[in-house]
Every structure is written in structure tokens, then in C-alpha cells.
């Protein structure tokens, strides 16, 4: 390498860049401790004696948007949807990859096709059907997520399953495994790395999703993004302080999740995109 001399400069540049990347979140954090009327007029000032508001914004915000119930809905919906997606789509992916016939081929292409269809295309009809079938509650929406998330997940699982040598399965058949045993005892463990990827991609999507849950359950059950958006005009006036505090609270779980399984996330995103 020829540029050893430029190293300190480069290093400095990267540090500056990091600051640019972190600053927005820090600024929001800072403002969350200011009185609500001092925020939009001077967002870059540190809170001082006059503007410091303690935890008022947090208590107000939590009360207003019922943050903990929103958090609970977000958590339940995300965890169970992702679990459901992993469980059902891995089975389906294995089946349609291994049992090739006209129907499964068509199915495969339909799943892949669904990946490029923008949500606006089905937003009304899907929420209408969800409502008719009484899926417009935090449990029912999980079924919707399994259906709508199956495209990407099946695509990724299939890609991986194709690379598993058939010999393993043939050997198992000879040993007298039926397909259900075979899938859960042999295939599922092999799928683990892909499952992590699928889980991460779907978690990122479902946790942050706004329009789908808004249209399907949004007026009665508010997830975090819906609750944050509702702060805009749902209470007669927008409380900037509460907004800042709620932004902070909604970022914290993400940061915890990210820092605790960072390696998996980055790996998952890379392998996810390579196949996508």
C-alpha cells in the first residue's frame, strides 16, 4: 500500500463522517429534554436553565400515545410474524424446490413476482379482506405478514435449498424418514444461516412498517410508527417535545437490538442482498 502517509488524515475524515452519521440522533436526544416551544426555534442549542424540561416530554409522550402499549403491539406483531414466516415459508420453500411440478413452479414464480409489487397496489383490497376475515387485530395481522412476507422469504430459502446436496435427503429416505421428520430433523438445522438472514430482514421490515398496520389495525391498535405519526395531529396540536421524546424511545430498542446482534445483522443483510 502506498498511502500509509495519508492514514491519519483518512482516519480523521472517517471520524468526522461518523459524527455526521450520529449527530441527527444526538440532536433529537438533546431536544427531547427541552421545553416543547424551544425546540423548533433553536434545535441546535443545548438545553439551558430556561429551556430544560427534565423528563416532562417523556412522561407526556408516553401518556399521550400510550407508548408502552404501542411498544407491546410492535413487539408482539414483529416477533410472532417473524417466527411464523420462518416456520411456514421454510417448509413451503423446501417443498416447492424439491417437489418440482407445474403447480409448484407457478407458485414459485408467483412468490417471486409478489416481491416487486408495490404495497399501494394492494393497500385497499388487502385491508378490506383483512377486515372481512376479522384479521384486523394484532393476532390476525400476523397472518397478513406471513402472506405478504412470504415472497422474499421463500425466494431466499429456495436459493439456499437448491445448494443442499440431494444425497443427504436420499440417505434419510432410505433410513425411513417421512418428509415431515426429514424436514424438521435434517433440513431445518441446515437452513439456520439463511433463517437468520430471513429473520433479520423481516424484523427490520415489520418493526418499522407503517402503512400496512395503519390501514389494517391502525385506528384501534397503534404500533410505534403509527403512534409517532399520530402525534402529528391526533391531539389537536403537535407537541414537539413529546415527539422528540418518542423518537428517542422508538430508536432505543432498535439500537439495543442492533448492538446485541450486530454481526448477524450485517452478515444477514449482505447475504440477503446477494440473493435478492
Amino acid at each position: 500500500m502506498t498511502d500509509t502517509k495519508k492514514r491519519p488524515l483518512l482516519f480523521l475524515f472517517l471520524i468526522l463522517l461518523s459524527i455526521v452519521f450520529v449527530a441527527p440522533v444526538i440532536i433529537v436526544l438533546m431536544n427531547s429534554f427541552k421545553g416543547q416551544f424551544y425546540i423548533s426555534s433553536s434545535p441546535f442549542d443545548f438545553p439551558d436553565e430556561k429551556t430544560f424540561a427534565g423528563l416532562v416530554n417523556y412522561t407526556n409522550g408516553i401518556k399521550k400515545i400510550k407508548f408502552f402499549s404501542a411498544f407491546f403491539y410492535s413487539l408482539i406483531i414483529t416477533v410472532f410474524s417473524v417466527a411464523g414466516i420462518l416456520f411456514f415459508t421454510s417448509m413451503t420453500a423446501w417443498y416447492i424446490t424439491r417437489c418440482k411440478n407445474f403447480i409448484t413452479t407457478i407458485l414459485y414464480y408467483m412468490f417471486v413476482f409478489s416481491m416487486i409489487v408495490p404495497f399501494q397496489m394492494v393497500m385497499f383490497t388487502m385491508s378490506k379482506i383483512a377486515n372481512t376475515l376479522r384479521l384486523d387485530n394484532p393476532l390476525g395481522i400476523i397472518a397478513i405478514y406471513i402472506g405478504f412476507g412470504s415472497g422474499l422469504s421463500i425466494f431466499m430459502f429456495s436459493g439456499f435449498i437448491k445448494s443442499i446436496p440431494l444425497e443427504i435427503e436420499e440417505a434419510a429416505t432410505i433410513d425411513g424418514c417421512n418428509p415431515i421428520q426429514m424436514f424438521f430433523q435434517i433440513i431445518l438445522p441446515i437452513l439456520k444461516p439463511t433463517a437468520v438472514t430471513v429473520a433479520i430482514l423481516n424484523t427490520m421490515w415489520i418493526w418499522n412498517d407503517y402503512l400496512l398496520p395503519y390501514l389494517v389495525i391502525g385506528n384501534k391498535y397503534k404500533t410505534i410508527p403509527i403512534a409517532v405519526q399520530y402525534l402529528q395531529g391526533g391531539y389537536g396540536s403537535r407537541d414537539m417535545g413529546a415527539l422528540m421524546a418518542m423518537l428517542v424511545l422508538s430508536i432505543i430498542p432498535i439500537i439495543i437490538f442492533y448492538l446485541s446482534c450486530q454481526k448477524h445483522i450485517i452478515k444477514g443483510v449482505v447475504s440477503g442482498s446477494v440473493k435478492g
Binding site: 421545553g35 379482506i129 390476525g140 405519526q229 389537536g236 396540536s237
Partner: protein, 463 residues
């Protein structure tokens, strides 16, 4: 270790899938056919859910009060009241997505004849309801030859709210250039603008940032101008042209009093707490906060704003120092003009929900506006001036702005302006008007363009 983890995962996954098959997919059978599924789905669940009313509330500022009302009502009658409140500016959107649902709102609100036209398939005839029997002035309701479809539940008034303390300080000033000595002497645009401009010249002495609170033009927060303010010049135009408001002759307007609109609007933005250029960032809440904190002396708004003023921490406005001035626009004979009094809040009951639910809905409304507890909420918490004869003379809201409105209503020698904006063609018209106003204050549009937009969009949206 690994295998333990794995088996835990597997077990939980299985448990979840079980949960699905029982609650998620289980209900699939047969009801996929959406077109006809509606009514049958309703009947299926009506057994266990019969005792609830879904109320889609229009007023975000009182959303939390309705939750208390729901609790009380549950205690009193055992009936569950589900109140959902649409975020400001999204009522029509929310109503549209909600009303198509199997569990549709039983009580919703229409904003006048235009609202009735949009939702007439869902408006039940209310002529036999108790609440209608008690409506003081039956003419206020939305009705046609067949029946009554919307009942007003609140009478409201708006004008220019002023802080008398600051006004009095001004009248005491030795540098005062006008010969006005009290707010009562301000009875036309000319006087108003003279006073305002002189106050601006003396704003440092008065300790204010501007005479008027910022003219909030953020989209969704511009209704005070494209709807409320616009009502005044259009009222005079309709009056002058003898327009029958229920006829088709409102399909086009001339906006002939646009100068009047411009007069007062310019006065607002040029004597404001902030530069006109940043008005696009301002929300109603900002304006009310400025007023509450004593940074300005006047703000155009209605009696519903009291809660907002009162809730601002550090509020400096004294209850007794607050009053309404009419919105003068420089029209001849406006000396006798009052504030704008009327309603755009009409309750409707959804004709598409089951008979029982409709009954539950009208029972609730009657309870709210006739029982002691209900009336207490209406008067003291919601602060509504309710147009029903179940309220006696002394059962009026106690907040200062509502009291002021009542005084204006009872005043004999003024003409209060009706709320004709209920016939404005559509939200889209209002939004375009608001955008044009924003561009005008930003210096990107001439006034004549604003006028043209108003006339054209009105016509286009009246189709």
C-alpha cells in the same frame, strides 16, 4: 446447549403456528367472498360484541375527554363506547377507510350539506330520535323532505381573540398615535388597522413580538384562513348577490370581496410575531402558545381554543382579560357586524350498522346531552355550547371564550355571521386555497393569482 436452544425455538414456533391455525386461518372458510360477506360477518359477531358503540370523533383537542366519558358511560349503562379520533385534517380519510369495515363507526360526523352529500348512503334518518326532539332550533339540522340526517351538537364562535391586558397597556401609552381608548371603539377595519399598526410601532414598549400571533400556514393547520377567514368575504358576497345557499347557484363564486380578505390577511401577516416567509412552518398550536405566553395581543380563532391557551405552561393570559373582536374586512356597514357563530359539527348515525347499534348510538347521544353526568361533561370538560333544550339557562360552559360567544349570541344590535363555509366545495378546494395563501406570503404568488385560484378551484371542485 445448541440443541436446547433449537428445541426451545421449535416448540415456540409450533405453539405459534397452533395459535394461527385456530385464530388466523381458521376463520377463512367460506367468507372469502367479500362482496356479500359483510352482513353475515356482522351477524356472526354481533352476539358477543353487541354492547359497543363505535364513535369516530372529529375533534382531536377533546379526544382524551371522550375516553373519560366512555369510562363513565360504561359504568352507568354497561355499554362500551369505542372512541377513535382522526388526526387533524384526516377525518374524511379515516371515515372513508373505517366506514367500509365490517365494524364500522356507528356515530360519525358530517360537516354540513356537502358532507351529507358525500355520506348520504350512510346517514340514518334521525327525525324520531330523542336528541332531535330536544334540538332548540330544528332549522339548524341537516335535513331534506324525507328526514333528518345530521344534528348539530355544538354551537361555536370565532373572531379575533384579544388579550385585554396588553390592549389596555396600549391605550395607556403616551406615544399612542390613535384616539382609540378602548377595545369597544374598534368597530371597523379602518380603526382596527390603525390600532394594530400603531401597536406594532410600539411593540417594544408593550413587550410583545407582534400584534398578531403567527398566521399558521402549515398544511393541515391553515384552516383558520382558507375556511374561517374566507367565510367573512363570502358571506358578504352571497348576501349582496342574494344567493340561495341550498341551490346550485353556489357552484360558482366571484370572490368579489377578495380585497376585504386581503386587507385583514395582510394586516395579520405584516403585524405578526414572525416574518411572513416562515409561516409555512407554523401550526395553530404555535399561534396559541404565542398568545398564551403574552408574545402577541391578538389571534384569530374560536372558543374551542381556550383549552389550548389554558394548557400552555407559563400561560400569562388572565381569564378575565380575554375577549372576541369581530373579523372586520372593510365592508360597508360592518360597524354592526358580530363574530362568526354557527356549527360545522353535525352528528350522524350510520344507517348501515344493525338496528340495535343505531339504537345504542342514539341512546348514548341522548344520555350525553340530557343526563346530569353527561351534561356536566359537555359543559365543563368539552366546553360545548350545546343547542339542546335539555340545558337550562345557567347550564352554559364556564370557560371565558365560550361565555364571550354566548354574550355575542345574546347581543341584540349586532349581526353575527353564519358559518357558510359548510358549503365550501371540498377539502381539496381548501387545500389549494391554503397553498395559494402560503405562496402569497412567501412572495411567490401575486394576490390576483390567489383570487384566480380560489374562483377556479371552487368551480372545478363544485362539479
Amino acid at each position: 446447549m445448541k440443541s436446547i436452544k433449537k428445541s426451545i425455538l421449535l416448540i415456540s414456533v409450533l405453539a405459534i403456528s397452533l395459535a394461527f391455525t385456530s385464530c388466523g386461518f381458521g376463520s377463512d372458510d367460506g367468507s372469502v367472498n367479500d362482496n356479500t360477506g359483510n352482513s353475515s360477518a356482522d351477524n356472526n359477531t354481533s352476539d358477543n360484541k353487541d354492547n359497543s358503540i363505535y364513535y369516530l370523533n372529529f375533534k382531536p383537542e377533546v379526544a382524551q375527554i371522550y375516553e373519560e366519558i366512555a369510562k363513565t358511560y360504561k359504568q352507568e349503562t354497561g355499554v362500551t363506547l369505542n372512541v377513535v379520533t382522526a388526526a387533524s385534517g384526516t377525518y374524511e380519510q379515516t371515515l372513508k377507510s373505517e366506514i367500509a369495515k365490517a365494524d364500522a363507526p356507528a356515530i360519525f360526523q358530517i360537516n354540513g350539506p356537502k358532507g351529507y352529500a358525500s355520506w348520504k348512503n350512510y346517514c340514518a334518518d334521525l327525525s324520531d330520535t330523542e336528541i332531535y326532539q330536544h334540538l332548540t332550533d330544528k332549522e339548524l339540522a341537516i335535513k331534506n323532505d324525507d328526514g333528518v340526517y345530521g344534528i348539530p351538537y355544538v354551537v361555536e364562535g370565532y373572531g379575533i381573540i384579544y388579550n385585554e391586558k396588553i390592549m389596555d397597556e396600549y391605550f395607556e401609552l403616551d406615544t399612542k398615535q390613535t384616539d382609540v381608548d378602548s377595545v369597544d371603539e374598534i368597530n371597523n377595519f379602518e380603526t382596527l388597522s390603525a390600532v394594530v399598526e400603531d401597536m406594532t410601532a410600539n411593540k417594544d414598549k408593550l413587550g410583545i413580538d407582534g400584534v398578531f400571533a403567527s398566521t399558521s400556514l402549515k398544511s393541515g393547520d391553515d384552516w383558520r384562513w382558507h375556511t374561517h377567514l374566507a367565510n367573512i368575504p363570502l358571506y358578504y358576497e352571497f348576501l349582496e348577490n342574494n344567493i340561495d345557499l341550498s341551490s346550485d347557484s353556489t357552484n360558482e363564486i366571484e370572490f368579489s370581496k377578495d380585497e376585504g380578505f386581503k386587507n385583514i390577511f395582510d394586516l395579520y401577516i405584516n403585524n405578526s410575531t414572525v416574518e411572513p416567509k416562515i409561516l409555512g412552518t407554523k401550526q395553530t398550536a404555535d399561534s396559541m402558545a404565542e398568545f398564551a405566553l403574552g408574545q402577541c395581543a391578538m389571534v384569530q380563532n374560536g372558543n374551542w381554543a381556550w383549552e389550548q391557551i389554558n394548557d400552555v405552561s407559563g400561560n400569562t393570559v388572565n381569564e378575565d382579560d380575554i375577549g372576541f373582536l369581530p373579523i372586520f374586512i372593510g365592508e360597508e356597514g360592518e360597524e354592526n357586524q358580530g363574530i362568526a357563530v354557527g356549527t360545522e359539527n353535525f352528528l350522524a348515525i350510520n344507517s348501515q350498522v344493525s338496528e340495535e347499534k343505531q339504537k345504542l348510538a342514539s341512546d348514548f347521544l341522548y344520555w350525553l346531552y340530557s343526563s346530569e353526568k353527561g351534561k356536566d361533561y359537555v359543559i365543563n370538560e368539552l366546553g360545548f355550547i350545546a343547542p339542546f333544550d335539555t340545558f337550562s339557562e345557567d347550564e352554559k360552559p364556564t370557560d371565558p371564550l365560550a361565555r364571550e360567544v354566548v354574550e355575542w349570541i345574546e347581543e341584540d344590535d349586532v349581526t353575527n355571521i353564519p358559518w357558510n363555509f359548510t358549503i365550501f366545495p371540498s377539502q381539496n378546494f381548501k387545500d389549494e386555497f391554503g397553498t395559494a395563501l402560503l405562496q402569497y406570503v412567501q412572495g411567490k404568488k401575486e394576490w390576483t393569482d390567489v383570487k384566480e385560484t380560489v374562483v377556479e378551484k371552487w368551480k372545478a371542485e363544485s362539479k
